[in-house]
Amino acid sequence: MTLKSEEKQSMSDIDREQWLHMYEQMFKIRAFEEQVNELYQGAKMPGLAHLYIGEEAIAVGVCEALNRDDYITSTHRGHGHCLAKGASVDKMFCELLGREPGYCHGKGGSMHIADQDTGNLGANAIVGGSSAIATGAAFASKRLGNGRVAVCFFGEGALGQGLVYESMNMAQLWKLPVIYVCENNLYNEYTHHSETTAGVMKARAEAFGLMTVEVDGQNVREVHETARRLVERARNGEGPAFILCNTYRYLGHHVGDISREYYRPKEEEMKWRTERDPLKILSGWLVESGMADAGIFEQIESQVSNEVQSAVEYALSAPFPAPEEVTKHVYV
């Protein structure tokens, strides 16, 4: 099954304020990630981080189609999903820096942020590892009749994991309200997907009978429009869906992946940055359609930058967890 273009819902009901809010959310992710990169390069952050810059339209376009109590599961490249679902930047920074006020008291770190207040069932550092968890959350929603939808974010690298297909099979068999969102940023870590993934990506989900849509992952309007329709469909009990979002990871697999020319040319990176940037695509459209003037974006950016700056300062001075924390929460 594929969504026909004429079936796509008109988005005339989405007003200027909502689009500007999405711009703000996308910019917040970018500013957050740029700050994370600086923290790493300044040796202020322990461990690693996998940055989401370039893919912001997917997290925001999808999460803006969800209610606060709908569920998401995320990935090692998960900061964008957490923020888009409503996480606060200060608690995020605290977690990334291993500080007590972080979402997980500093015990999860960059790859394990969970926040049940915003329906975030956790980022997962096993590629594809959360596909069954998201499916289980959808199963519980259906059984408990609470009307919640679960979204499972993963990269195209997860298409190599059998668990993803076991999950899709059960979701379709039992008509579960789950949306699988595949962010195809072209590279499984340092390897182009053409070297790892045979056949047609979309066809893999179609084979299970899932409603399947391929979208331009750089265009938040297209992502959002599709997500809204499929979320509503799932909420109405019409079953799971698969959204294949074509996108690009501007930076390396992780913050330390600086020299990337052995697996992709600089020209390719530059082309995506200049021609396919999700922030520019949205602001350009808003200006062209007369819904906003250029000044508003500077205003949003300066406000968000201040928020991010003060959050990182707060986090850098926040306390580390007490030693007693190490044995807490092993068991309930």
């Binding site: 969970a114 289980g136 199963f139």
Partner: protein, 333 residues
């Protein structure tokens, strides 16, 4: 409540497990079961026969042959308001589900700083002797016991199986309960009609004695009890202690027993190398060192893949004669 208050009612091991599941399904609407061929087929061992008739196919849910998938689905459902009981037909399939159990279920509460919890039970089987060869006979409870965040239950009697299963289902942590498939229809024992539970983390002295402690798990309890009888005949009084749960482990009961007897053998059906017996032995060596009159000995399954041919398979599992000989030599008799 003790087993003596059962008013004479006796159940097989498998029946006691089914009764625990049925009672908890009745008590709590968020409890449900899922696994391969558990509904009309009642599992390959026919342990769950009748449950689907009472609770329906939604709560006794047949799944595709996708162990990682439905185990992970249970983890997600447990995180969001349900209490799933996963049925993994053979413990040997543990390798298939290990990411979902060890990296997901076991760690989610900790990684989330205590925000999320995973109240699920994973039932699976253990035990050799069924002539099922290397991929359907292993006892892999040590794998689960190694991972912080999981609780591990290895009941030996129908009474214990029922009471521990009910506690496992009510526990807010992921609990793995391993059932020796050879006991389903062979081991019978008293089980009272009245409601009871057994807390996780409390060992049980199955037989009192003064000269040597035999710590045994799951069906190895019967090996130990038989050895104790043989030892009795040569004037050695053996105490048989059943930890019942490996995590949490009731170290105190084990140590106190050995403080009294001064000698100990650990018996377990898992592979001996790096196995449950090694952990138990170290607990005793630490806690009762100054009371020991002999080295702490242990006996696990032989360190070989479990062979098919009955004459070979029987060699790999601890038996009463072997325990008897080892105990006798420890007691210098």
């Amino acid at each position: 409540m003790s087993t003596s208050e059962s008013n004479g009612r006796e159940l097989f091991f498998g029946e006691a497990i089914k009764e625990a599941l049925a009672e908890e399904l009745r008590r709590d609407p968020t409890v449900f079961m899922l696994g391969e061929d558990i509904a009309e087929a009642g599992t390959t061992f026919k342990v769950l026969n009748g449950l689907v008739e009472e609770f329906g196919k939604e709560r006794v849910l047949d799944t595709p042959i996708s162990e990682p998938g439905f185990t992970g689905l249970a983890v997600g459902a447990a995180m969001t308001g349900m209490r799933p009981i996963v049925d993994i037909m053979f413990g040997d399939f543990s390798g298939l589900i290990m990411d979902q159990v060890a990296n997901q279920a076991a760690k989610i509460h900790y990684m989330s700083g205590g925000k999320l919890k995973v109240p699920m039970v994973l039932r699976t089987t253990m035990g050799a002797g069924r002539r099922s060869a290397a991929q359907h006979s292993q006892s892999l409870h040590a794998w689960y016991s190694h991972i912080p965040g999981l609780k591990v239950v290895v009941p030996s009697t129908p009474y214990d199986a029922k009471g521990l299963m009910k506690s496992a289902i009510r526990d807010d942590n992921p609990v793995v309960l391993l059932e020796d498939k050879m006991m389903y229809k062979t081991v019978k024992g008293p089980v009272p009609e009245e409601e009871y539970t057994i807390p996780l983390g409390v060992a049980d002295v199955k037989r009192e004695g003064t000269d040597i402690t035999l710590v045994a798990t799951s069906s190895m309890i019967y090996v130990a009890l038989e050895a104790a009888k043989l030892l009795d005949e040569v004037g050695i009084s053996a105490e048989v202690v059943d930890p019942r749960t490996l995590v949490p482990l009731d170290k105190e009961t084990l140590i106190n027993s050995v403080k009294k007897t001064s000698r100990a053998i650990m018996i377990d059906e898992g592979y001996e190398q790096y196995g449950v017996t090694a952990e138990l032995a170290s607990v005793i060596a630490d806690g009762a060192f100054y009371y020991l009159d002999a080295p702490v000995k242990r006996m696990g399954a032989m360190n070989v893949p479990i062979p098919f041919s009955p004459v070979l398979e029987d060699l790999t599992i601890p038996n009463a004669k072997g325990v008897f000989e080892m105990a006798k030599s420890l007691c210098n008799k």
